[in-house]
């Protein structure tokens, strides 16, 4: 195993991307993710890569679109308001079936909002993130080590399925330092025969395109894309089950919220309350089956979120509204304390959720 070093989450993403073979990064400054760009600006010129600060988020995602069209690994990173600007490009990449990695180190919104951590872009990330029918693979790291490993995974899934992977982190995950061990990455060979690299006058021209003016054809493309999404839902779900064996209450949280929830679960367990957690690692595809199975065993669910309650809708739908689901949340850049989560657990334990 590689030596453990202390790294900020943002830096871990950048280094992992380089290890995964990404040599093109385009971005625009925004707090709290600037370390990613700074890291790339320093590293890329030394390894024959390209870091370019774009004139806007809109331009950055379209530069990503350009490189992605050539089949090379490419990424951009931003924070919430910047991702809104990128949503045009995200939709075009989905429509053109281009692989890329996009990082959202979320901050409080809506609008310019604040710069403190948030998870309020869950809907934006998991329900499309732009106009039209499409999905992105959404990965939610909960440690600096996962910031790195999910970046590598994100590139692989993007290439495997020709679509955008998004790392949905938050200001805390981006700014915190933890020990991380970065391993060499072996990049698999993916079919890139669709890429535009010049025909060399040896093949018919390739076209990267999302325009389709014949509705029957466009419909077919959409159905085909959703077949692919179904495969992903069947094969790529990732989650962590924590102390769920005997749990009567199931906490659900991702990212920083899951870290806080673990403290609260330890406190509750010390008081004899049987509580566990399902931590979705892929927010899309959502761990529907895990929640459905949990609903057979537990009495109630608690969704811990740094938002006004977004993932909670997916928990309710996954459990088919069979068990009560309550929200334990803070918003606007605030983070729930372990004590607040403990309170919610106690209330659920007393049957307050029913």
């Amino acid at each position: 195993m590689a030596e453990k070093v202390l790294m900020k989450g943002n830096e871990a993403i950048a280094e992992a991307a380089i290890l995964a073979g990404c040599r093109h990064y385009f971005g625009y400054p925004i707090t709290p993710q600037t370390e990613i760009a700074a890291y790339m600006a320093k590293k890329m010129p030394k390894i024959g890569g390209c870091f370019l600060q774009a004139e806007s988020e809109v331009a950055a995602i379209n530069m990503v679109y350009g490189v992605a069209g050539t089949g090379k690994r490419v990424m951009t990173s931003s924070s919430s308001p910047g991702i809104s600007l990128k949503s045009e490009g995200l939709s075009y990449m989905a429509g053109s079936d281009l692989p890329a990695l996009v990082v959202n180190v979320q901050r409080g919104g809506p609008g310019l909002g604040g710069i403190q951590p948030s998870q309020s872009d869950y809907f934006q990330a998991t329900k499309g993130g732009g106009h039209g029918d499409f999905k992105m693979i959404v990965l939610a790291p909960s440690s600096v080590q996962e910031m790195a490993s999910l970046t590598v995974k994100g590139f692989d899934l993007a290439d495997k399925y020709r679509m955008t992977s998004m790392i949905l982190a938050d200001g805390t995950m981006g700014q915190m330092m933890e020990p991380v061990s970065l391993e060499e990455v072996e990049v698999a060979d993916y079919d890139k025969s669709w890429a535009v690299t010049g025909t060399k006058c040896e093949r018919k021209h390739n076209i990267i395109n999302s325009l389709s003016l014949v509705p029957e054809e466009l419909e077919k493309l959409n159905f085909e894309r959703y077949e692919k999404y179904k495969t992903i839902e069947e094969n790529e779900v990732m989650y962590e089950e924590y102390m769920m064996d005997d749990a009567e209450i199931c906490v659900s949280a991702f990212g920083i919220a899951a870290r806080v929830a673990k403290n609260a679960i330890a406190m509750a367990r010390a008081e004899g309350i049987k509580v566990g957690m399902i931590r979705p690692i892929t927010l899309w595809p959502f761990p529907v089956k895990a929640f459905k199975a949990a609903a057979e065993k537990v009495n109630s669910f608690i969704s811990v979120e740094l938002s006004m309650g977004q993932m909670i809708d997916d928990i309710k739908a996954s459990t088919e509204y069979t068990k009560p689901v309550t929200l334990c949340n803070r918003a606007g850049g605030m983070i729930p304390s372990p004590e607040q989560v403990l309170e919610a657990i106690k209330k659920a334990n007393e049957g307050g959720n029913k």
Binding site: L52, A54, Y65, G66, V67, T70, T197, N209
Partner: protein, 251 residues
Amino acid sequence: MVVFDKPKSLLDVPLHYCPGCTHGIIHRLVAEAIDELGIEGQAIGVAPVGCSVLAYNYFSCDMVQAAHGRAPAVATGLKRADPDNHIVFTYQGDGDLASIGMAETVHAAARNENITIIFVNNAIYGMTGGQMAPTSLPGQVTQTSPYGRDTSHCGFPVKVSEMLATLDGAGYVERVAVNNVKNVRNAKKAIKKAFQNQIDKKGFSLIEVVSTCPTNWGMTPINALKWLEDNMLPYYPLGVYKDRDAQKEAE
């Protein structure tokens, strides 16, 4: 003896452009330049949003369709992916390049991005049915300026070539027209030079092609050419606005 043939870089498919539209001429000039420079196998074209959105079906080289106005950013990505081997050009109209994509245009020029931009200026939004463009002339009647472009209300046209020429980054900027044989020949020369510059790694080149839109101008093709000469050319004078090489030689 063959006296007239289709350039190799244009595919043998019917174009969708309106009768009398000058896009066909400009497509041909681009294709001829690519053929003559022998870069078809390296070329990657970027189609815009607008009338020429379907250009990806017409050129035989690899093609990418870009979001409205974003072609220079997409081209930046395509070029940076393999600067030594990709020859990248965009083909954009006035709404695409000078309105919604002005930031991408200006900054690609400022960076001296080593790409070639073909900018077709016909002073109107064609595809969407004839709305006022950033280059529509004062007083010009369009669907969204039905009483003529009122400069006190919606300001003045953007002179793209003049503006870009002020940027240190822009390497080569020339305005040409395709209204008569002489001008078409000049346009061809300029377009070819814009590609040659890229091959020679000289950086950003933009050729503004003043052209017509008979359909949305509501004119016959002949009258449209006449209107171009009488109205557009005085406002958009032809010529080289920036040529870093020539400037260097002169110094």
